[in-house]
Subunit: 204 residues, 2 copies
């Protein structure tokens, strides 16, 4: 994946651009930021900035070549498929994430889940394996596990975090409502569902 | 619920304060921000600011009365229980949220789910009802539904949003990766799982 620096807001619009361009590139060979903005009801300045950050300046009058633009947009978000994402904790939330299809829009997919309570390997509805947690190290030796998702209760989260780091995982997405102690080189993203709902509730 | 303005960061620490105080108020009658900070390994300035925002200044030398502080902290986060939260969309994610226990820490709980594919009322593992969506209006007439969670696919999200608003729901938490068109007086909080993972993946 190219290391282009884009904001979270820009990243969020990329799937919209890709979808639109894929559906319309029989119609256009080139497209301008103005046309794209109009078709997607987005601000023209915003679209112009997004495309400039991702694909450089468009050609005067003709704009962007649709095929090239699509490929540049996909380069930003698509994982090359060799980096794996796994989940530790196959409770309801873990299993829902394991089968969640919305990651594919970003070229990502969760390969497997691990749970202390699973003795014989299970398979999710979409056929993803759920292994006993004792098989985690072996899995990491055979796969390039880049991201680990923590979906265990808070009291087990630190232990799982340590296991992820020891096995070479390079980024952590934590759904347990806790604060992890971890080497600062490893990015941790927290998803505290309770807090999110409480915050919304306070806004009303 | 008191309309005290606290930051999201402060709000996130409140359950920690409450847990600690509940476990230790046989030990202390009064507690200072300094002691609380030390016990919880938090910055003293941070704790002092949090408590001042929530419960005013502590008394010199003695600090805060633990019972009063607990009650002030709970007032900030606890819903009074008359406001209901419901989910529309009882797929895997919807059902995981329906039974998620982490909302209770903030005095919140999801009352029911609604789904177009559910014909006879079902019950989740924790006993929450899942109704056919045709019963949504009737449910809203009989319950003060404050927050609606959208957990349907993107192409159905706007229709669900309109239904929520028509039935008096005052805040929306949207898990569909889309942008909703809604009256600006109604706060909408988006939770785009695909985007969150893609963003973490880009950081590594």
């Amino acid at each position: 994946m190219k290391k282009i620096e884009v904001s979270r807001a820009t990243l969020g619009r990329i799937p919209t651009y890709i979808k639109y361009l894929k559906n319309s590139y029989t119609e256009y060979k080139n497209i301008s930021a103005t046309t794209l903005a109009k078709e997607l009801s987005l601000g023209e300045v915003q679209v112009r900035k997004d495309l400039a950050a991702i694909s450089g300046a468009g050609r005067p009058k003709t704009g962007y070549n649709v095929t090239e633009l699509l490929s540049a947009l996909e380069d930003v978000i698509k994982s090359d498929g060799t980096d794996k994402v796994v989940i530790v904790g196959a409770g309801k939330l873990g299993r829902a994430l394991l089968d969640y299809t919305g990651f594919r829009e970003y070229g990502l997919d969760i390969s497997a889940a691990f749970d202390i309570a699973v003795t014989n390997t299970e398979y999710s509805h979409t056929g993803k394996p759920i292994y006993n947690v004792s098989r985690f190290s072996e899995f990491c030796e055979n796969n390039n596990v880049k991201i680990g998702i923590i979906a265990v209760p808070s009291n087990a989260a630190q232990q799982v975090c340590d296991m992820l780091v020891e096995n070479g995982v390079r980024g952590i997405w934590c759904f347990a409502p806790c604060v992890l102690s971890v080497n600062s080189e490893i990015p941790v993203q927290y998803e505290n569902m309770g807090l999110s709902l409480a915050y919304l509730n306070k806004e009303i």
